[in-house]
Amino acid sequence: MTDNDLANGERSSWLSLYLFNHDCGRVTGLFKHSLNIQFSGILFHLGRKTETLSCLGITLPDDQVMSILRQVSVDDQARFINGTIYLYTQMTVLAVPVMTLKEVNLTVPTNLSPTLLPAALAKFQQIPFQEKWGLANMEQASRLSNQLLSANLAADIQAVAGHLVGRGRGLTPSGDDIMVGFTTALTAFQDPRAALWRETLATLAKQNVTTSVSVAYLRAASERVASQKLIHLIAALKQGSTTDILAAIQSVENFGHTSGIDTLFGFATGLTARLSE
């Protein structure tokens, strides 16, 4: 494996800020199609090329990811050396190229075209969030939407965020996904509240209040970075056709068990904020 050229994938532009030569890590999560490696500065995500590029990691061709998944175990050591992540498994050293992969800019775009937003909103309004999201009946969707939209001051935002953080189940609890979607939308639309939300998320990310995966995404959102699916949606809103927008929404919606829906709920709420101006 170490001699294979796996350079046929993509890496998040955000990585180079948090992954440094000789960083030590350990495999902390093994999933059906991806894995997480906890380095000191980043929870690194290795996913399949046919799925979304996480702002926290890279994608590789599906067969190579599956081959890696077959060989690694949770707790295997990892080192980032000279642009490659080495995974030290029981039987072998796997070399995962990082810096030779194509870099993808996952910084949230801004200056969206207002003309395209109503079409998106119409689509969002068709999504039965209350039925499909991860919070079930723990919250009322419309009430939560209002809470998010009406929090303008730092203290109000912290209160809403404090209520949502870690709320729900899974690797990325629904409350966190909602905040990531909402903050990303505010960032994209250059909403005046965006900075306060980003600060709040940055603070929450430093506290031990949610899962480590969520922490990584909250921090990413606080640094104007999002996963590729969300970036594609924003890009579609910026300059794509209605078809592109609908496809991008569908793509986010399909992500994870409820993660995509939850993120979309947050994002749709942010979009409402923009349109209500």
Binding site: T2, D3, Q77, R79, T84, Y88, Q90, M91, T92
Partner: protein, 1011 residues
């Protein structure tokens, strides 16, 4: 009383034989027994054990010597039966294995099977190891050399050669290694990690890697160098190349070095290199007590400290000033104070470490190396039971617990023994039940002396084939104190007798000497470090299993000493094989053989085509030159018959007198373009077949087959025989001659043979198909002749009755093929094989008409009713021309019908024989493809180099003559050509090519004659 059995040509590797010896030693009635191959070194061991009998003295390196000391002669039968069972179990296992891995027996096949091999794992007897390392390097392979007893001179030469080629020689005497997480030889299973080790000590590497694994770390490469790599002559070639390699291996972040203190200059060089690489280093020069660290090179005192420093470096943590507990690990046992510490180790480096720590703590003046003792002072003794003195002729104590149990009992009885230290080394290669055996011995000893203490350390990991945790439990349950490392075990032992170690803090001081650029590593070395090894496993088959299990690939090379283990011959083969034109020259000979175009053109009186016979009292005989007096009885009988046939004598008595008085001259058939079956006796008026090889236009002759029963070729000379010869000369020959003349250019023999080989003929023992094909061609011609019908009928009936008629056509064909090829005087191809009943003679392409002879063997096979092996005459006849050109025994697989008749067993045996013959030939003859061999062509072009190298000699299918003249054929079977004539030819060839001086050739020849 001593009883000896020598099993000729029964090679087994030494580990198998040690296990066998172990297995049969406990049999009832066995006082002592030893099984080894007949090498000079092994004979010394027998001698020392008082087992070197006269029979054993005479054994050859390829012979298995079994010497039993017993009061009862019948015990030997039981020993032999147990030996057969043991070896047959092994062979069944090996057969099963070989189905998967397709074992090979030479380097060429190994490379063919694993073309991208990058590592040879060599575990052959030491005396042959240097040659195999050389072969590995010549094949551009890195070498991991488990074998020991390689001279320092050879080691130095080979390591220099490897370095020049960018290759690594790990060893010799390298018991342990990990390459890309593949455990090699005696090695533990350790997870991968960012630590890379280079070690000149086997158990040192094992102790450090297993502690790292148990601490949660990992080691990807642990490169063994062999114990003498850091000596002055070798100059740490392997260690320095390995360090540079690890410096260029990105996944390795920490480098660890394990060695005994090297020579000063070598140490300076190595240390300079360690400071030059941009990775942190932990180094232990076991025996030195460092008082500081230096720059990025951290110096450890014990193997455990080495592992712990490596772990901190690997985790990017600061190195601590001290890794030893401040307080003793154990309170002193008042009853043990003043008692002695005894170390009974299977691991050499562990013994060394124990000796060092005990000596330091008790101020005993350092360690020694004396008859297995590492320490022997004031009653404190540490023994390395893996030392040569304990392992000559018996298994290593990591495999066999007996020597340790003996020593435990011996020391436990001594009243001043206070503590006994033991190690149990787990991992591949070592015994699975060692902990159990040691626990039992500990328990027994403690039952007798409860105040005694046993302190043990187990070198192993949870992934080892043995159960590490279970081993700990067993020893603890037996009453032993089980420690996590050897250093801790020694400290506990010292604590028990009221002593302790002194380990001061170590500070880091800057390195002030110069550094140097790190040499670039070769592609081969980087390939070795960055990929899973692709291994040619030369020797002990067990070593291949972990390679395959841990992701490597490999091929098993079932090694046997080449050239029967004769060191001079091995050297000669190497030199001959290095001749760069030889292959082209041999190809030239092969082309002539393949392109032969033999045609049966005529049948004539011998004297009309062989001038040497015309008008002289001269007879031709089979084989190389021989006098009448030297001939065996059947050949002499043939001579009598010929003299009577020619009318030179009126009766047998006169014929005998003439022959005995040397009134008859003799010539070899082969010297006059002829061949003759069995006795091969040919005279002026006998009819011979004429074969013209149209490739070069040369003719060859052979007398016609007389049928079976009483015939001249088997030594019969009664009137019936003479009458038949007359009929053949006067009726059969002219008829066939006239028939053949009706064809333009004669009868194409290749076409007949190509048909017949697909019909089950191999042309030596079975010619029925070819004889019928011949009859099919010639019968219409005979019928069309203007001769008496009665003659036609007689001739056709004779041909129809004579199943072996074609044998003589094939023989003359073979002779015409080799004579055409013999016009080119280069190469090592056998161009003639023949036997005269006394000697087997061969000629080779480079040396023209020169004969190389050795005493013939006697064929073995099946006998006609009333006859047995005792009636068999030694091997005789020019018919081995069949095998010379790829037929007969060489093509046994073509003729399943005769395999049983010639005593070659069943179909699979025939296939095995032909496959074996293909190992000594240079190529295939596409003219004669064999359906039962998956349409491969006949194996042709016997190469003397291959014969001598493999020890495989051609198998000849042959009729068996009675040793009494006149009786005739008594059976049929097979016989092997003797190796010595091929060896003699090789010596002569080497001299001819200027590779050895005449006197050296003469002395080798003399040795061959004496052997």
């Amino acid at each position: 009383m001593l009883y000896t059995v020598i099993k000729k040509n029964s090679y087994q590797d030494s580990i198998n034989l040690m296990l066998l010896t172990n297995n049969i030693s406990d049999m009832p009635g066995v006082n002592k027994v030893q099984v080894m191959m007949g090498t000079a070194a092994n004979k010394d061991i027998f001698d020392e054990a008082g087992l070197l009998t006269e029979e054993a003295k005479a054994a050859q390196p390829n012979d298995m010597m079994i010497v039993l000391d017993s009061d009862d002669a019948s015990v030997m039968d039981q020993v032999l039966s147990a030996t057969d069972d043991f070896l047959s179990d092994l062979s069944v296992k090996s057969d099963d294995d070989s189905t998967d891995s397709k074992n090979v027996t030479n380097w060429e096949d190994a490379k063919k099977q694993l073309p991208d091999a990058n590592l040879a794992l060599i575990s052959v007897p030491g005396v042959y190891a240097a040659d195999e390392i050389d072969n590995a390097l010549d094949n551009n392979l890195n070498a991991f050399v488990f074998s020991d007893n390689v001279s320092l001179e050879d080691e130095t030469r080979l390591k220099k050669k490897a370095h020049k080629k960018g290759l690594l020689v790990m060893g010799p005497d390298c018991g342990t290694g990990i390459i890309s997480n593949v455990p090699l030889a005696f090695t533990n299973v350790v997870r991968s990690g960012n630590i890379g080790l280079v070690g000149a000590s086997g158990t040192g590497i094992q102790e450090v890697t297993t502690i790292i694994e148990r601490l949660g770390g990992g080691v990807t490469h642990a490169i063994g160098t062999g114990g003498r790599d850091l000596s002055d002559p070798v100059g740490a070639i392997t260690m320095e190349d390995a360090i540079a390699g690890l410096a260029h291996h990105d996944p390795t972040e920490v480098v660890g070095i394990i060695s005994k203190p090297p020579a000063k200059e070598v140490r300076d060089d190595v240390v300079k290199l360690l400071h030059s690489i941009n990775k942190p280093v932990v180094a232990i020069f076991l025996g030195e007590k460092p008082d500081h660290h230096e720059g990025s090179v951290y110096l450890a005192h014990t193997l455990e400290e080495t592992a712990r420093i490596a772990m901190d470096l690997a985790d990017h943590k600061p190195v601590k000033p001290n890794y030893y507990a401040a307080k003793p690990l154990q309170t002193a046992g008042p009853e043990l104070v003043g008692k002695k510490v005894i170390g009974l180790y299977s691991g050499g480096t562990l013994a060394y470490e124990a000796g060092m720590l005990i000596s330091e703590a008790l101020n005993l003046g350092g360690i020694i190396s004396d008859e297995g003792y590492v320490l022997r002072a004031n009653g404190n003794e540490v023994l390395d039971l893996g030392d040569d003195i304990y392992t000559q002729g018996r298994p290593h104590p990591m495999i066999d617990p007996r020597i340790r149990i003996e020593k435990i009992n011996e020391y436990a009885e001594k009243s001043d023994t206070g503590v006994i230290l033991l190690d149990d080394v787990l991992g591949y290669g070592t015994d699975d039940q060692m902990a159990d055996a040691l626990a039992k011995a500990v328990k027994d000893a403690l039952a007798k002396r409860p105040e005694l203490k046993f302190v043990t350390t187990i070198v192993g990991t949870n992934e080892d084939p043995q159960d590490y945790q279970e081993a700990r439990k067993l020893l603890a349950a037996a009453g032993a104190i089980v420690c996590d490392s050897n250093a801790q075990a020694v400290r506990v032992a010292l604590n028990l007798i009221g002593k302790d170690v002194n380990e001061p803090d170590k500070a880091v001081v800057p390195y002030t000497q110069k550094t140097a650029p790190v040499p670039a590593s070769s592609e081969s070395l980087l390939d070795l470090l960055y990929t899973k090894p692709r291994v040619i496993n030369v020797g002990v088959a067990e070593f291949l299993k972990p390679v395959l299990k841990f992701g490597g690939t490999g091929v098993q090379f079932d090694w046997q000493p080449i050239a029967g283990g004769n060191p001079k011959m091995i050297k000669l083969i190497k030199r001959v094989k290095a001749l760069k034109d030889r292959q082209t020259e041999n190809n030239h000979v092969m082309t002539d053989l393949k392109q032969a175009a033999p045609f049966l053109t005529d049948v004539v009186p011998a004297g009309s085509v062989i001038p040497e016979l015309k008008g002289h009292h001269t007879l031709l005989h089979a084989g190389s030159p021989i006098t009448y007096a030297e001939m065996t009885s059947p050949m002499q009988g043939g001579c009598i018959g010929a003299v009577l046939f020619e009318g030179w004598a009126k009766d047998e008595a006169e014929a005998r007198r003439m022959l005995e008085n040397e009134e008859i001259d003799f010539l070899c058939n082969h010297d006059v373009n002829a061949v003759g079956p069995m006795g091969g006796i040919t005279s002026e008026h006998m009819a011979v077949l004429v074969i013209k090889n149209k490739l070069k236009g040369n003719d060859a002759y052979c007398t016609m087959n007389e049928g079976i029963g009483k015939v001249l070729r088997f030594g019969a000379y009664s009137q019936e025989v003479i009458d038949r010869l007359n009929w053949m000369a006067n009726v059969l020959a002219p008829t066939l001659s006239a028939a053949l003349k009706k064809l333009d250019g004669g009868l194409n023999v290749n076409v007949m043979m190509a048909k017949a080989i697909t019909m089950g003929d191999e042309f030596h023992q079975r010619n029925i198909a070819a004889s019928l094909v011949f009859l099919k061609e010639v019968a219409p011609l005979i019928v069309s002749l203007d001769i008496a019908e009665k003659t036609k009928q007689e001739v056709i009936q004779f041909l129809a009755d004579t199943d072996q008629f074609f044998l003589s056509i094939m023989m003359a064909t073979g002779k015409s093929m080799v004579d055409a090829a013999r016009t080119y005087h280069k190469g090592t191809v056998v161009t003639t094989m023949t036997r005269n009943g006394k000697d087997f003679g061969i000629r080779i392409s480079a040396l023209g008409d020169q004969w190389f002879t050795a005493p013939v063997n006697t064929p073995e096979g099946l006998f006609f009713t009333g006859f047995s092996q005792d009636d068999a005459n030694p091997d005789m006849g020019d018919s081995a021309i069949a095998e010379t050109v790829g037929f007969g025994g060489m093509a046994m697989i073509a003729a399943p019908g005769v395999t049983r008749f010639v005593g070659a067993g069943g179909f699979k045996d025939a296939q095995k024989i032909s496959n074996q013959m293909a190992k000594i030939t240079l190529g295939r003859n596409p003219n004669f493809s064999i359906p039962t061999w998956d349409f491969q062509g006949t194996a042709m072009g016997i190469d003397i180099v291959k014969v001598v190298e493999t020890g495989i000699t051609p198998v000849i299918n042959t009729g068996i003559a009675s040793k009494v003249a006149g009786v005739g054929q008594v059976g049929a079977g097979t016989v092997h050509a003797p190796l010595a004539c091929f060896e003699k030819a090789l010596v002569a060839y080497a001299q001819h090519m200027g590779l050895i001086e005449a006197d050296e050739a003469k002395s080798m020849d003399k040795e061959l004659v004496e052997a």
